[in-house]
Symmetry: C2
Subunit: 364 residues, 2 copies
């Protein structure tokens, strides 16, 4: 087992990465101060792992309540979070309760937001069960829900007390979702770690075969990169924005599709390629680097083509409402080189337009 | 004009107290960093003061959007806050927007919570138009909404950038609401400022006549006491809880009445008297001090009797769900003496019961 620390002063917390972590109950129970707990899970994950977590907590003398949510990004709403409040109040949970998110990013985002708001803030712990959640959404304290008019528009910065990233959960993860997680893994290499990008290029087949050591290394390097970036900029004042590589384009696709088409990681994969293509047109990346990224995404069984229904105008419309907008200017994350991203507000609008036109007209 | 500073490190902010503050536009505009603003007001306050604030902002070159909410504690819900999100998104407000609460405590609590959650946090400014909001809810960073199962159960600690407490607004405040505000003013004397309590006892008629200097002094002393307590304990870990004197009893009344009976300040007045009576039974206050408080509340035209529908059992039921519960123990705020409150978890349950029985059977 590896232990990483996200260094945020009094809000610092550990990330445990390994397999069979629940065989070490103290990793969970050390971070529960009272005896009240609420496990938040979903209909897909609960049948597989809920009982194990419930038993562990009961054996430790905790009172265990449970809420099982429907599965899917379309349920990441204020209404669903209100259901968590309802359960907490019906079961009379106090300020000393601990919420435990057992599921993917959607469960984690909503549980974290519920914890941030219930009685103005209670503790929570993340047990991410998808690769995406392990490498991305359980690290960094972004919590929240979608609004029909925009993704992740309502939320809070709120840190968990601990994260248990157990790669054993990934055995039951559908291949498509696993690939979507690999997209975010590749992102860390692209934005801040050229050596890790190189490792991914050389070891992708092991990672795709879910070979234990390869997966643990990929999760560790991803969390390490993210933790380093988040520690430097907890509330996204500046540098942290590079974590959004591919996300402005990706969110536009997800919003246009009403969150019902590409998975988040798949949309990010397409978005990263668009960012790389724009970076190339602006003279930062060379053609073979863009081609190499396209090939790597393909080997990770990720889409590299823009969905047929997208047009340059649809992109521009949905990107203007994106949170990366500051005072009316759409800021984009671009690549200076493989392993080095930067935030840009003064990119060439004509080249952005060319990139979108080319991507939207290219045969899939 | 007086300026108090709430000292919370990088979240510190000024409270301006005086009259005709809007004649000094910079008090407001100095705290708006971008050019986007959303004024949140209600149907009662908007016809009186909205245009003045809109004009001030437009004259300063700001873009001004407005949302006017229905008036009343029964509308302090997640649904209403979602309406604020809807407006912000429809009008495409970015992270640099500033929300301006123009109204009483309900408007302030919801605007603050919307600001805490919109895009994970944007700026907000309070312009409280009731006495209660000026002395209580606009100082201290507690924001949030009610849930059918409990008052203020959903929210965030989130600080405004500035508070403009203009006593001129109080001229149009209905007498009953003014008295409800005086209840909280009396509270500050009771919990932490014996000299101020004595001043109130001697100057209550001036305060009730809304004499300008008396009102400004009362608001100033109230904010000063609250700011001092909040600075020492921003997130209510300990000492801050004394601000809840009378609130555990008061919330029980409000919840039992479905927030449709006594005003918040009126319920707190009854609750403070219950706390004083229990403190007397426990040997802290003497009988004449309790009688003096009852007289002071009466002179402030506040209720001193428990509503007829309340029973000791109803009190106990609703108090058990109150946020002041820690690990199943109902903590109460009691008075060691006039001007000195403390948090107690080991008060005599029998004396609490006697106090409630006596209060619920006493003729009104």
């Amino acid at each position: 087992m590896k232990t990483l620390s996200v260094d945020l002063g009094e809000r610092s917390y550990p990330i445990y990465i390994g397999s069979a972590l629940l065989a070490q109950p103290h990793l969970l129970t050390d971070h529960i101060r009272g005896d009240e707990t609420l496990i938040v899970s979903n209909e897909t994950v609960a049948p597989l792992y809920l009982e194990q977590v419930q038993r562990l907590l009961r054996d430790a003398g905790k009172r265990v309540d449970t809420i099982v949510l429907p599965d899917g990004e379309q349920f990441k709403t204020l209404d669903t979070v209100n259901g968590i409040f309802q359960t907490l109040l019906e079961k009379r949970h106090s300020r000393k309760t601990t919420l435990i998110a057992l599921g993917g990013g959607v469960v984690g985002d909503m549980t974290g937001f519920a914890a941030a708001c219930y009685q103005r803030g209670v503790n929570f712990i993340q047990i991410p069960t998808t690769l995406l959640a392990q490498v991305d959404s359980s690290v960094g304290g972004k919590t929240g829900v979608n609004h029909p008019l925009g993704k992740n528009m309502i939320g809070a910065f709120y840190q968990p007390r601990a994260v248990l990233a157990d790669v054993g959960f990934l055995k039951t993860l559908p291949d498509r979702e696993y690939s979507a997680g690999v997209a975010e893994v590749i992102k860390y290499g692209l934005i801040s770690d050229p050596a890790f990008y190189e490792w991914l290029d050389g070891n992708l087949s092991s990672l795709m075969a879910k070979e234990r050591e390869a997966v643990i290394y990929a999760v560790e390097m991803s969390c390490l990169n993210k933790a380093r970036i988040v520690s430097a900029d907890e509330r996204e004042a500046g540098k942290r924005a590079i974590l959004n590589l591919g996300h402005t384009f990706g969110h536009a696709i997800e919003t246009a599709q009403g969150y019902q088409g590409l998975l988040h990681g798949e949309a990010v994969a397409v978005g990263m390629l668009l960012a790389a293509e724009l970076s190339h047109r602006m003279g930062y990346l060379n053609e073979s680097e863009v081609a190499g990224l396209r090939d790597l995404l393909r080997r990770a069984r990720l889409p590299v083509a823009v969905p047929a229904e997208m047009t340059p105008d649809l992109f521009m419309h949905h990107m203007a409402l994106d949170k990366k907008v500051s005072e009316g200017v759409v800021r984009l994350i671009l690549l200076k080189s493989i392993g080095s991203a930067f935030v840009s507000a003064d990119y060439d609008k004509g080249l952005l337009s060319e990139t979108l036109v080319a991507a939207c007209t290219r045969p899939a």
